[in-house]
């Protein structure tokens, strides 16, 4: 076996070429890792909103909260269903909520640019049903007032979205922001929570809610709850575990990002692999004499083949590692994307999972193997006598 230090030294002899080739591979790995991290971030943010012991009830066939509507009198029936947990006062832990998307002026962009923000009208007990939500500045909204709290991802990004400021849900019907909440990185952090009555009367939805979220006695109580809700043919409702509801909501956007990223990466990878191939062919041609000498010394053709493939992989792995390191910087960045399921803008972050990092590195090394194989084969086929003759 030819020592790897031989390959490393050979790479160092031609620094510029080595860096140019590794740089190409680094950029490809960076793009690939970035796209996968964003796709994972989209999933993580949207799925984080769900709890396994929560169930969400929507109108059958609506598919999402935004297109669903449930009559108020059905809310009582849903909350009275066996399996719904009661709080210490004996009241059912459930919240009938109304969801509307409003166009709000975005700050920091072009003048007059608006984006959709989701407004959720919530009953007073909402924090009991969603214990993962915590007020981090200001205070909770007083029940029965035109006060609201906003998710921390909205703060400072939209007109009127700061504690103490006001914005209109309807002409002459301003709500005042009194607090900011965090929700474990979930999509709730990109929402406005106002009182149910304020939202309903501002949007002309009296007597209706969009969805009902209930806390169950245990995650295992879901199947029975679902069966009870869905057998009532008059209500025409469907129940879904909150975790799987949010999983479904994330699919379209996560898929879009990862398909776009994969297509881009494949094209770039093609170019970078050919670049690596060029470099390795040049290396083989230049070191023809060395290869001849090695063969004459008794190294086998297979040794030569492996050695050049290893050299190419080292080259690619260095590039891949640099690209990966650069992509990790993205975990500090935030991206606002339109979520296709709710038609509103949600702030996502890049999420680096071990699988993604490993996958990107393997992809980088793979470019090295593919790019190095043909040149290595050529090197292995060198005739020692010819090569040494010059």
């Amino acid at each position: 076996m030819i020592p790897i230090s031989y390959n490393v030294r050979s790479l160092m002899v031609r620094k510029t070429t080595t860096f140019a080739t590794a740089g190409g591979i680094a950029l490809v790995v960076f793009v690939l890792a970035a796209a996968m991290m964003l796709s994972a971030g989209v999933k993580k943010t949207l799925v984080a909103g769900g709890r396994p012991d929560n169930a969400i009830v929507t109108r059958k066939g609506s598919g999402a909260e935004l297109s669903s509507s449930i009559e108020s009198n059905a809310v009582g029936l849903i909350l009275a269903t066996p399996g719904v947990k009661k709080d210490e006062t004996g009241a059912p832990l459930g919240s009938g909520e109304t969801v509307v998307v409003i166009a709000q002026e975005k700050l920091g962009g072009a003048a007059g640019q608006v984006s959709n923000v989701l407004v959720r009208g919530v009953p007073d007990n909402v924090l009991k049903v969603r214990p993962d939500v915590h007020i981090i500045s200001g205070r909770p909204a007083k029940p029965g007032t035109d006060e609201c709290v906003i998710g921390k991802a909205l703060v400072g990004n939209y007109a009127g979205m700061t504690v103490g400021q006001k914005f209109e849900l309807k002409k002459n019907r301003a709500v005042e922001v009194v607090g900011v909440f965090e929700a474990g990185g979930s999509s709730f952090e990109s929402e406005v929570w106002a009182s149910l009555e304020t939202a309903r009367s501002s949007f002309g939805r009296d007597g209706l809610v969009s969805s009902v979220t209930v806390r169950l006695d245990s995650p295992g109580a879901f199947d029975k709850f679902k069966a009870t809700i869905e057998t009532d043919k008059q209500l025409l409702l469907e129940a879904e575990r909150e975790t799987s509801y949010y999983e479904k909501q994330s699919q379209a956007t996560a898929l879009f990002v990862s398909v776009l990223g994969t297509v881009i990466s494949i094209f770039c990878a093609f170019g970078a692999t050919l670049g690596a191939m060029n470099t390795m062919f040049a290396a083989v041609a230049q070191r023809k004499r060395e290869v001849g000498t090695l063969l004459a010394l008794g190294f086998s053709k297979f040794n030569i083949l492996t050695s050049f493939v290893v050299e190419s992989v080292v080259l690619a792995a260095v590039g891949g590692a640099v690209g990966l390191a650069a992509s990790l910087l993205l975990t500090f960045a935030k991206v606002s994307l339109m979520n296709q399921a709710s038609w509103s803008e949600i702030t996502f972050s890049f999420s680096a999972t071990p699988n993604i990092l490993l996958g990107a590195l393997v992809a980088g090394a793979g470019m090295g193997i593919i790019g190095g194989f043909l040149p290595a084969l050529k090197a292995a086929g060198t005739s020692p006598i010819e090569a040494m003759r010059g």
Binding site: L66, G271, N278
Partner: protein, 388 residues
């Protein structure tokens, strides 16, 4: 022998390397064409937006509706030539609920008047207007679903519950990107008559043609002022502004595509520059000979730049030759049929093709500058001494 001739000969010396480099240039050109076509397909709607069309919707939220009578009030305003209206229906194909396409309830006769770019044959148009359950379907959606004129189709309503039956009365097409080719349009009356009293007589948005294209700003303000003291306020803007505001929501993705375009150009530059540099290094003593027999440093630099230029031209042309069929018949057809809302038209535009070709040329030359300068600066004695 001309300069370009020498460059071409030099390129032929290492055929494999040249072939690989030309392939890289061609692929990058193709990819550049594709990325820019994505952006064009997405953003050019405002380019096609009619200047004499303004759209009105609920002031606060697009999910909220306006009373139907607003339509008649707008129609009576001076300067208005025709008005149409529509409701988002949110229908799904019961056989494939995840397949998203737009379903919109509208008033057929006025819709076709307001949108002259929607092309449908006269008999089909009349048939659609006459049939209350008739639907007009975009050609790319019809092709994908296998729907033909005369078919009966059933859609499941997500906002309006139940199964809804339609007769396919006509298939439309369009050549502009502001109208997609994957929408099911049907009679607003059919939807309205089936609704409970509380949600009857409401429209999602109103589109108005005005007789003076220069007055769209003034007319928009006039419409909003008219309804300002009503229970439901409106916001009206020109079609171009509406498209812009919609694109604003996707700005992050557009930025990402721009960023990737730059990254890709960087990768391409590195690879071409590398190849040229390798060739120059191998031929160092030849350049020494050229200098010794009287060629000036600038001639050496010209040889190298000429070589790069040839690679750029060949690669760029190959990229265009691959790009046209690949985009127009491959990716384009797929995107138009499956993601027709986002990409109503996905065709290579001449200006994008020209840009991609110039980019290939420019990049090849720019990445050769450094090796060329290095070679030109070599001392004759020094370069003659070097071997291989």
């Amino acid at each position: 022998m001309t300069l370009l001739g020498i460059a071409a000969r030099n390129i032929g010396r290492n055929k494999l390397r040249t072939a690989l480099t030309v392939t890289v240039v061609a692929i990058s050109t193709l990819f550049f064409i594709m990325l820019r076509t994505v952006v064009w397909s997405w953003t050019s709607a405002s380019e096609f937006a009619a200047k004499d069309r303004i759209a009105t919707r609920h002031k606060v939220s697009f999910v909220m509706q306006l009373p139907r009578r607003y339509v008649d009030e707008i129609a009576q305003m001076p300067g208005v030539t025709s008005v149409s209206y529509a409701n988002w229906f949110g229908g799904k194909d019961p056989k494939d609920e995840n397949d998203f396409f737009a379903t919109i309830a509208t008033d057929p006769a006025s819709l076709l008047k307001v949108y002259p770019e929607i092309k449908i044959s006269e008999p089909q148009k009349q048939a659609w207007i006459a049939d209350r359950r008739g639907a007009m379907i975009g050609d790319s959606l019809a092709k994908k679903k296998g729907w033909k004129v005369g078919d009966k189709i059933t859609l499941a309503g997500s906002i309006f519950p139940g199964n809804w039956d339609f007769n396919v009365s006509g298939i439309y097409t369009t050549t502009t990107t502001n109208v997609d080719r994957a929408t099911v349009w049907f009679h607003w009356d059919y939807l309205n008559e089936s609704l409970p009293a509380r949600s009857k007589d409401m429209v999602g948005w109103i589109v108005t043609n005005i007789n003076d294209p220069g007055a769209s700003g003034r007319m928009s303000k006039a419409v909003d002022a008219k309804f300002d003291d009503r229970d439901l306020q409106t916001i009206t803007m020109s079609e171009a502004a509406l498209n812009q505001s919609f694109l604003g929501m996707f700005s992050a993705i557009l930025k990402a595509i721009d960023f990737v375009s730059v990254v890709m150009i960087a990768i391409m530059g590195l690879i071409i520059g590398n190849t040229i540099a390798m060739g120059v290094r191998e031929r160092t003593n030849e350049y020494g000979v050229l200098r010794a027999i009287g060629f000036l440093p600038k001639h050496v630099a010209q040889f190298i730049l000429g070589e790069a230029l040839v690679i750029g031209i060949v690669g760029g042309l190959l990229g265009l030759a691959l790009g046209y069929p690949f985009v127009n018949f491959g990716v384009g057809r797929f995107l138009e049929e499956n993601m027709g809302q986002m990409f109503p038209q996905f065709r290579v535009q001449p200006q994008i093709a020209a840009m991609a070709f110039l980019l290939a040329l420019g990049l090849a030359v720019v990445s050769a500058i450094l090796p060329a300068r290095k070679a030109a600066a070599l001392q004759v004695v020094e370069s003659l001494r070097r071997v291989g």
